[in-house]
């Protein structure tokens, strides 16, 4: 093997108590691709300039997404990482694997690529970092032979992801893993064949704690909620929090309720459920005494995005409550309606949230055939915004 590249600047990043990507990469510096990759990065640190070229179009037959082409602009100096394409692999719902499966993936990746991985990317996929164009088809075939598939990239449905819901969490108001899997399977064409103005992300959270941050990071967030009343076990409340101590119910729960719907007289907790916004705060704090109601489902929110182009947007409510496990067909219908409109009138690289801002929520709802509802305003109860149409005036 060629000489190990010296990387004094990168080595600074191995000092200190925190995890370091340099430490991890150095463990496999015997691999020539990794050796050149470290050398290239050190060079970038010295020159204060990135040496990855913008974009690249590579892929596997039949798919338009899943592989992100990467080339460096120093092929003579760092030939081993001149082609260094990224592969996105659709993760299992909730990120459940057994170690045997991960070993199989790593074996394939060591054979076909650099061996470097990122578990997981921010969309949720397993990310396999660095391979050559000639390895793409064999790699794809190896992955499918162990029942894995590529994820989304480009202007398509990005790999849907979900919290691990009912598998681990008692608050999940619907089976996030099942719904995530079903939606992924239903939209396979849209996932593998980019045809939108820009990316579209689905994320599924079982409750308003929103462990996958769906409201901030997905165009379509499906967040578990309930319709009836929060269940209170007054006896458990006394036992664990009043006598058991540790929680100042008035200060930590009642006064922190965003809609001020709770009262506490020192012995009895009461909730005005009609004012509850299902934020989960009281349930999180008094988890042994409070539970979500029985009539559970999900709210569908739309328009969230991180600030890559334009600013960050939080998703807002489109459908306040739906029995999602029994109504997936209805969701598909609404989503496809939205895609048609956005596909027709959306600008290139315009996310759905930006599109709705541009055309106006009123026009958007009219076009996709949804009735306006009070929950759709971005700050319910504090916003005087109302809908009216001149034509409809008597």
């Amino acid at each position: 093997m060629t000489e190990k590249r010296q990387t004094p600047k990168l080595d600074e990043l191995t000092k200190g108590p925190w995890p370091s990507f340099v430490t991890e990469m150095k463990k496999v510096q015997d691999n020539p691709m990794v050796n050149d990759l470290l050398g290239q990065l050190e060079r970038s640190y010295n020159e204060k300039i990135g040496h990855w070229k913008h974009g690249g179009i590579v892929g596997v037959m039949g798919y338009g997404g899943g592989v992100i082409g990467r080339y460096n602009d120093l092929p003579d100096d760092f030939p081993e990482c001149n082609e260094f394409h990224t592969i996105r692999v659709n993760q299992p719902a909730g990120w459940f694997y057994d170690s045997k499966t991960i070993r199989k993936i790593c074996d394939i990746w060591e054979k076909r690529g650099s061996g470097l991985t990122n578990f997981h990317g921010s969309t949720g996929d397993m990310v396999l970092l660095g391979t050559r164009t000639k390895e793409l088809e064999p790699l794809f075939s190896d992955l499918t032979s162990i029942d894995f598939d590529l994820g989304g990239s480009g202007s398509d449905v990005r790999t849907p992801s979900c919290c691990n819901g009912k598998a681990r969490c008692e608050w999940a108001c619907y089976d996030t893993m099942k719904i995530c899997h079903e939606v992924t399977m239903h939209f396979q064409d849209e996932l593998h064949r980019p045809a939108f103005p820009y990316k579209w992300k689905f994320k599924f959270s079982g409750c308003a704690n929103d462990c996958v941050a769906s409201i901030a990071r997905s165009d379509c967030a499906v967040i578990g909620t309930w319709k009836d009343e929060i269940k209170i076990d007054q006896k458990a409340l006394q036992e664990h929090y009043v006598n058991g101590g540790g929680v100042d119910i008035a200060r930590d729960v009642v006064n922190r309720c965003p809609s001020r719907c709770m009262s506490w007289d020192g012995t009895k907790l009461e909730i005005a459920n009609e004012d509850c916004v299902k934020c989960m705060h009281c349930i999180n704090v008094l988890h042994k005494a409070l539970r979500p109601g029985d009539e559970r489902g999900a709210a569908i929110l739309i328009g969230g995005k991180a600030p890559i182009i334009g600013g960050a947007l939080l998703a807002f409510t489109l459908i306040p409550f739906i029995d999602i496990e029994n109504s997936l067909e209805d969701i598909y219908e609404v989503v496809e309606e939205i895609w048609d409109l956005w596909g027709e009138y959306g600008k290139n690289r315009e996310r759905i949230g930006e599109f709705i801002q541009r055309i106006g929520l009123g026009n958007f709802l009219e076009q996709v055939g949804l009735e306006p509802a009070p929950e759709m305003i971005s700050h319910p109860r504090t916003n005087p915004y109302i809908f009216f149409e001149l034509d409809g005036e008597e």
């Binding site: 179009i57 892929g59 338009g64 202007s155 064949r193």
Partner: protein, 105 residues
């Protein structure tokens, strides 16, 4: 930059095989490039797509959005992938001699 050979003529292409000088494109280049993208023979349907892309590019100096391509040719996206297995961007645009489309990964 590598060269793409058609007969004894060399065309400069980028690392993904896209023509560096789109003006040099001709039918022979298209036919030769098709073979590198899993298309053995360019049929009438292939040409419908290629010609549309070419005309659009010549007029607007940019590749059309995929929805526009589907609407104008009357082919559904799945049909485009049947014709060009490596897809409209990597396959069809390359064969039509367009510069590499840019986009978000």
């Amino acid at each position: 930059m590598p060269d793409f050979m058609v007969g004894d003529k060399a065309y400069e292409v980028d690392e993904d095989g896209f023509l560096q000088q789109p003006d040099l494109w001709n039918k022979e280049v298209a036919e030769a490039m098709a073979k590198t993208e899993g298309v053995e023979e360019l049929t009438e349907d292939h040409w419908k797509v290629v010609n549309f892309l070419r005309d659009y590019y010549v007029e607007y100096q940019v590749a059309p959005m995929i929805r526009k391509l589907c609407k104008s040719t009357g082919f559904k996206l799945n049909k485009i992938y049947e014709l060009f297995p490596s897809g409209p961007a990597k396959g069809a645009c390359k064969i039509a001699g367009l510069p590499k489309p840019t986009g978000c990964v």
